[in-house]
Amino acid sequence: MNKYYLNHLQELEAEAIYVIREVVAQFDRPAILFSGGKDSIVVTHLARKAFWPARIPMPLIHIDTGHNFPETIEFRDRLVEELGIQLIVGSVQQSINEGRAVEETGLNASRNELQIVTLLDAIEKNKIDAAIGGARRDEEKARAKERFFSHRDEFGQWDPKNQRPELWNIFNGRKRMGEHFRVFPISNWTEMDVWNYILSENIPIPSLYFAHQREAIYRDGTWLPISEYTELRAGEKIENKLMRFRTLGDITITGGIESEADTLEKIVNEVAGSRSTERGNRSDDKRSDTSMEDRKRQGYF
């Protein structure tokens, strides 16, 4: 092995930094879509590295469903403070109040799909022309078809069958007025890569990812945390569990796993030995074979 060699994490990092710099160079009003989950935390970390010693030259956008884990909000506010950059919050509750979005009802109701309206409104209102996200191609089969630079029409929609070809590392960010791009710098990373990178860079992440005691119920094959929104069904009983979360979405739909992994090293080992995908605990993806594609076409993350 010669000394002019990058390992796979270094190569993925170099690629992601290159993509983020292309966004800032090609667009007038870019922003980072920040969910408080590990993937958007990694993207924000990469943006910091891309422009050091300057600050990240764009704001973070957070779509607040009103059903967040409180830990996520605390983490977000601390990070924004530390980075010294602007935070734009789009509120799903406000979209509902204004009649722009309608709350789902029924047993499996969630605000997951409602975020699409709030997200597109926030992009339009703030005239964002490129929204950087932390989606990865390995997460889901519709996402496997995504470009790094993904075009959205004036209604914010994705047309998976008619995407621009993307060759080498040459990215075409040209667009008409009112259209925008979604950009995915960590497209080529897997869940394992993200965890290994967090470990090697020692990136702070919300406490929810580490094993902790929590009240939960077992529903649809996952441990669902008890919150003020929980409605118990017949036969369900609340248990106190040592658990952690592999992904973070709304508190109403994000299930956790039983785990004793309370350090990054232990998490990496646990993920490496896992036999199910991280989104397996997300009820939003279980609705149908193509539920991600259907949401993405409309403008989802």
Partner: protein, 414 residues
Amino acid sequence: MELLRFTTAGSVDDGKSTLIGRLLYDSKSIFEDQIEAVRKSSERKGLQHVDLSLLTDGLRSEREQGITIDVAYRYFATPKRKFIIADTPGHIQYTRNMVTGASTANLALVLIDARHGVIEQTCRHSFIASLLQLPHIIVCVNKMDLVDYSEDVFNNIVEQYREFASKLSINDIRYIPISALKGDNVVNPSAHMPWYKGASLLDTLETLHIGSDYNHIDARFPVQTVIRPHDNEYHDYRGYAGRIAGGIFKTGDNIVALPSGLSSRIKSIDTFNGPVAEAFAPMSVSITLEDDIDIGRGDMIVAEDNQPTETQDLDVMLCWMRAKGPRPGAKYFIKHTSREVMGIIKEVVYKLDINTMEKITDDQNIKMNDMVRVKIRTVQPLMVDEYRKNRVTGSLILIDDTTNETVAAGTIQD
């Protein structure tokens, strides 16, 4: 752990998706819930077996039609390497997807149906791999189970392919008899083919030498953006941010900024984790210089004693990617590294018949999926290298100035 990117292509029925499904499954990169979902879908469709192609065909219309429409990217890792697969459809109208998949790959995996031997589709994919200068090809002769695992059948196909490949510019070609469906020689050696003494497919993917696939000779640094912090601590900091496209840069190196031609020396090579003494392709860094010279996006910092060609006249092999051919006299945005200039296609020199590799000189009409040798004239100069020397500084795309679509991709020829 190294990263190996490879591309696959295949016809509708030659088992490409099954092979990828098999690689993911046997290397334990597929999770139980994914297999469970595929099992359920297969049952719903009334299939007798678990259809592993459902793992890769993600879009609604792909699942309905049972074909792959777009390039899909797949990931798996073994303790030795991480792999990225660009999985491309093989139907005749999808040359552009094959070119796209090949553009970022080190290796092409070519599938041949043992019952049919070398067909047009095989040649087309191999030829594209050669045009895009992939250093390695692995030829998998698939469905060996359907020809009684016959050594003669395998040898005949290898002979057929060798004859065709003598016209390609690829040095490293390997041949493996497999059955993707039954798993022979995919991950584990086959008990059915004791006559085959070579390595299994996965073993080959894990061990083949890719260390010299990047250009570490010709120092090239296209500037993406300029970093100027404007705060007290870094008040006068002016860092040129970019990704090294070739060669090695060291602190103290004499450089020239192109196209201005102004010289300076490298003062520092910075990263968030601290300065480095040297940087090489494909690292992302920011470079500061001893002198305050005017450099911005689209400029290129290069070694003073090894410079690219600066020119407004380019010889290019184009792959046309849109349904409509070029309008007469149309101007295009030409994107090359971080530089974007206007240009026109001045002349069609010849078209390539992608199946026979023959040059066609009496047809100037460019259509979707055509490979054409053209002369391009640009308004401002580009700093270029031949594609076979450097895939970053030797490649470009054409963007239609009215629709903003990427209409063609090109490799720079000498």
